[in-house]
Symmetry: C2
DNA sequence: AAGCCCCATTAACCTATGTTATAGATGGTT
DNA sequence: AACCATCTATAACATAGGTTAATGGGGCTT
């Protein structure tokens, strides 16, 4: 028990979940155990390739990655950024083969476990399972919001929006310090995430700097005025669903989890 | 039992699921029961508004709808088309409030049920539940592919791609007849789905007609050469995950479903 | 320390797509 | 049959963002 409590803070996934839901010691233990099998990967290495079979469920413990799709001629779209604490395409594990690739942007630590354990999780710790299901749903929401960005926001708006999104997501796992965080991302990748050319991303970042909204120094980015940046990006945080875990879900699961917990 | 078998074909959701998975009579019955509570809606009516609370899970039985997100100034992005047999934002029901709206494009029949029934489903008919979970996952894949379209495909490619996608999705539920189907969609909505202006959609459709790839007559669209249209749109059907239900999942659930089935 | 590669930066130019405006269709309503 | 609201269709023009190309910095490797 002490072990679990000591370990949770070192797990970004645990930190993320506990940010909106209190966990019992048993739940924490299970979570820690889930993340036991860790693999290490260099920067720019493929964790998964388009067309490849899914093996185990992967959780990003440390480092960044991207999920991306490519066209035959090489044009590429970054679908989402995988940040510490993120499960890599939770629901995708229901598929046989991957319709997208996953590539690290930094050296990374990835936890791996068998998809069967999710089923186990649903039986043993339904609240925890619900939390994961919920996280998975949020990823869809994030992708949909990016679609809105790419489809309907201007380059300046998109870029501002993405920066605010990353800031928000990273601060949940404690990786933002007074508006400053590490952005281990080339302009090419930003371009591929926002549906822009590399040159135009450069122009746009320059504009954001000139306006005084951000500072860039190597991979360190500083956001001076989140509120203003959010307003430039028409950022409405509703889609991140940062509020507490849904009561509806807790309620639905209560019967079940009570029964199970009593049986333990 | 006879009742269930007689009813399934009238349910597009049932037809969709049975297209990749054989169902037992009990499962069919449950499914039919799930879709019992049907509401009717006129064309252009909001089934759900941005910011509204989720009530029950909704299944499109008849008609089309769109899921869309809007910016404060009115710019709008259609996130996905809801076709007959589709569950409307399956995983979204895990959230408290909707981050997008759902609006019908035609008169529609919608089946409604409580989210708690999904939990019930997981306990009683895990294979069926898995099928729904899988459908839900496919929606994320579709949105991601649209993101690739809007971010990286040209107007002509995007439009061709969308038409092929709709053709494929509709044919699963038997709504395509020799390359011809009803497209109850204004050019404005196509524009909002593809991140283009209405004028440019018009130009693009004209081009597709001029090339001889499609025919438009009112809301009837005919695709003359799917293969060529797919090639224009760089359409790779991998993302639709049309193949059989994942073995991995079946396997994972087997223990559980065997036990249950034996118990029935 | 020379050479190399990757990346950021900027300028000049180009084009795919957006905007504005106008005119017909189409179909429902009175 | 006249009216109105929507929707399609095009033309003429405007621009956000793409392309190409050149430069320079920073960190590896040898």
């Amino acid at each position: 028990m002490t072990r679990a409590q000591a370990n949770i803070p070192s797990s970004p996934l645990g930190r993320k979940i506990t940010s909106y839901m209190r966990l019992t010691d048993e739940e924490k233990n299970f979570l820690v155990d889930l993340e036991r099998n860790v693999t290490r990967h260099g920067s720019r290495s493929d964790l998964l390739q388009q067309g490849e079979r899914y093996g185990c469920v992967r959780v990003m413990r440390k480092g960044w990655a991207i999920r991306h799709k490519a066209l035959p001629d090489g044009r590429r779209q970054v679908v989402n950024f995988v940040l510490p604490g993120d499960i890599i395409g939770f629901y995708c594990n229901l598929f046989e083969t991957a319709d997208h690739g996953v590539t690290t942007l930094t050296p990374a630590e990835v936890a791996n476990f068998q998809p069967e354990r999710i089923i186990e999780l649903f039986t043993l710790f339904p609240r925890l399972a619900a939390a994961l299901a919920w996280s998975g749903a949020k990823e869809e929401a994030i992708i949909a919001e990016r679609l809105l960005s790419v489809g309907r926001r201007t380059a300046l708006e998109r870029t501002a929006h993405l920066i605010v999104e990353l800031l928000r997501r990273l601060s949940i796992v404690g990786l933002v310090d007074e508006g400053r965080f590490t952005l281990p991302v080339t302009q090419e990748i930003l371009a591929d995430a926002l549906g822009l050319s590399i040159v135009h991303i450069n122009r746009t970042l320059r504009r954001l700097r000139d306006i005084g909204l951000i500072d860039l120094a190597g991979q360190q980015i500083t956001v001076h005025d989140v509120k203003q940046l959010a307003s430039v990006g028409q950022f409405d945080e509703l889609y991140l669903h940062l509020i507490q875990a849904p009561k509806q879900l807790e309620h639905a699961l209560d019967t079940k989890s009570d029964r199970k917990r009593a049986g333990d």
